[in-house]
Amino acid sequence: MALKKEQMLDLYRQMRTIREFEETVAKFFSQGEIPGFVHLYIGEEAVATGACAHLEKQDYIASTHRGHGHAIARGASINKMMAEIFGRSDGLCKGKGGSMHIADMELGFLGANGIVGAGLPLAVGAGFAAKYMKTNGVAVCFFGDASSNRGTFHESLNMASVQKLPVVFINENNGYGISMSFKRHSNITDIADRAAAYGMPGIVVDGNDVMAVYEAAEEAIKRARAGGGPILIECKTYRQHGHFEGDACVYRTDEELNAWKAKDPLPRFSQRLQEMKMATEAEIQQIDTEVAKVIIEAVEYAHKSPLPELSELTTDVYSD
């Protein structure tokens, strides 16, 4: 159904928050303040934003190594996310997980995941639990194009279909698995076509158009909630940064990158908002300024947060 102005502006704010967050992480990573591996969502903001807009309290999402955007779209604390990525004790995971394992159980966020394709069975399980406990919940599973070549994709979609589980599989086809282009790792034009192998619908969406993702996800999630079973949505998008920060991207051309930058979901949506007279340029800038402030505060929060106590090393291994 048609969106009201505030909702539209919320979508924009969401995408802007992810963008600002990721650019800030990139900056501090390059300055050596953030350790480990960092995979940024820059360019793909419309996918998580459009999909998570439809989630309710009891819903779950499963994510990937590129999980910051999913976490933010699901409503995770920006401060605690930043603290986690900085490895501080106030982080979402007390600094024990980091970028690749950022999670928030209170939001049904099953976590980023360091193992590609491992989120799919987890989402199937969360969807199973929703059906089993009749919570009316759904599980949304984000995963990449290359991930769709892992056995977990196959086993998970088949099981979700056979058990008719409320799981919405959202493929983020950004054209690459590290250096492997989609054309080279899969001999098909659309990953959505794989849905037929499990007797579930599969659709293709412009992943850089937040409204397109929003509408497709709305229908899919409604359907899943109503007991209609799983569905596969392929969002065609592109990551503007390297696979991980520090990646020289020798495997792709500037032309390709620039062509996609021209389709950047943020300016595209702000323009659309203005055309639709939903927002003035000033209002957009206002949001951008507010978001920038939020992120700056998050960095301050992270910096202020103490490092984990060594006593934390062997806690949280078991629950008793």
């Binding site: 982080g91 024990k96 999670a103 159980m105 976590g111 491992a118 399980g125 639990a129 977990t152 099981m159």
Partner: protein, 323 residues
């Protein structure tokens, strides 16, 4: 007390816990009306229906992975993997997901899942249907590992495992399914992490679990006739491990023989010997001995398999070489 088979005891534990807690469900291949490859879930489908006793497609990664997800989401899954030999197809879900989620998430998640697997040889199942893989899971922080040897232990420990908030690997020996033993009437659980002295003795400590516990008891009987009183310690749980009971026994006997069916090299027995050599060294008055399978896959031919799996004669000989 009533005589029941190991398989019946496990079946009762499953039924009782499913009656007790609606969040408990079973997912596995042919566990439904078929009753499971070894008949362990027989009758549960009729009692609880297909919503709680669920036949899975042939997809072990999805079985274990979905159960981890469901556990995090609040259920108490009891997945079944037909043979422990199949761990290799679903290990990531167990060791990188199930075992680590709580820690990686800063203690904010629980994974109350009990993974049941049938292990062990002795019936010409050959190299891919007879293995004992406990050493792998005992090396993974976040998992608990149980290997019961008797019907009573199997029932009490499985009930405790299902109620435990952590991922538990519950290894059942195929050769024990038909073995009967006294099982207490009514409701009871056995604490995870407590060893049990299955036979008292003063001369030597034999450490054995699962099917080998019975082989060790038989050997102890034979040894008794020859004047050697062996104490037989059954850890029952490998992780967490009950050191006290074992060390106390060694303090008394001064001699330790470790026995398991798994391949000796890299087996859990090595860890036990190392613990003792590090922490109870002074109790020892002789080198620690270990018996395990030779460093080879498990052969099909019955004559070869009989020579492969540790037996009473090997245990008796090893103990006598102490004296």
């Amino acid at each position: 007390m009533a005589e029941k088979t190991y398989s019946q005891a496990i079946n009762e534990a499953l039924e009782e816990e499913m009656l007790r807690d609606e969040k408990v469900y079973i997912l596995g291949e042919d566990v439904g009306a078929f009753g499971g490859c070894f008949g362990v879930t027989t009758g549960l489908f009729d009692k609880f229906g297909g919503e709680r006793v669920i036949d899975s497609s042939l997809s072990e990664t999805a079985i274990v992975g979905s159960c981890v997800g469901a556990a995090v989401a609040g259920l108490r899954p009891v997945p079944e993997i037909m043979f422990a030999d199949f761990l290799g197809v679903c290990l990531d879900e167990l060791f990188n997901q199930g075992a680590k989620i709580r820690y990686m998430f800063g203690g904010k998640a629980k994974v109350p899942m009990t993974l049941r697997l049938a292990c062990g040889g002795g019936f010409s199942g050959a190299a891919q249907h007879s293995q004992s893989m406990e050493a792998w899971v005992c090396h993974v922080p976040g998992l608990k590992v149980i290997m019961p040897s008797t019907a009573a232990d199997a029932k009490g420990l499985l009930k405790a495992a299902i109620r435990d908030d952590n991922p538990v690997v519950f290894l059942e020996h195929k050769g024990l399914y038909g073995v009967t033993g006294e099982v207490p009437e009514g409701e009871y659980t056995i604490p995870i992490g407590k060893a049990d002295i299955k036979r008292e003795g003063k001369d030597v400590t034999i450490f054995a679990y699962s099917s080998m516990l019975h082989t060790a008891l038989a050997a102890a009987k034979t040894l008794a006739q020859q004047g050697i009183e062996a104490e037989v310690v059954d850890p029952r749980t490998l992780v967490p491990f009950d050191k006290e009971t074992l060390y106390k026994s060694i303090e008394k006997t001064g001699k330790l023989l470790i026995v398991h069916e798994a391949v000796k090299q890299g087996g859990f027995g090595g860890e036990v010997a190392a613990m003792v050599a590090e922490e109870a060294f002074d109790f020892l008055d002789a080198p620690i001995k270990r018996i395990g399978a030779p460093f080879a896959p498990i052969p099909f031919s019955a004559v070869l398999e009989a020579a492969y799996i540790p037996d009473e004669a090997k245990i008796v000989a090893a103990v006598k070489s102490f004296f």
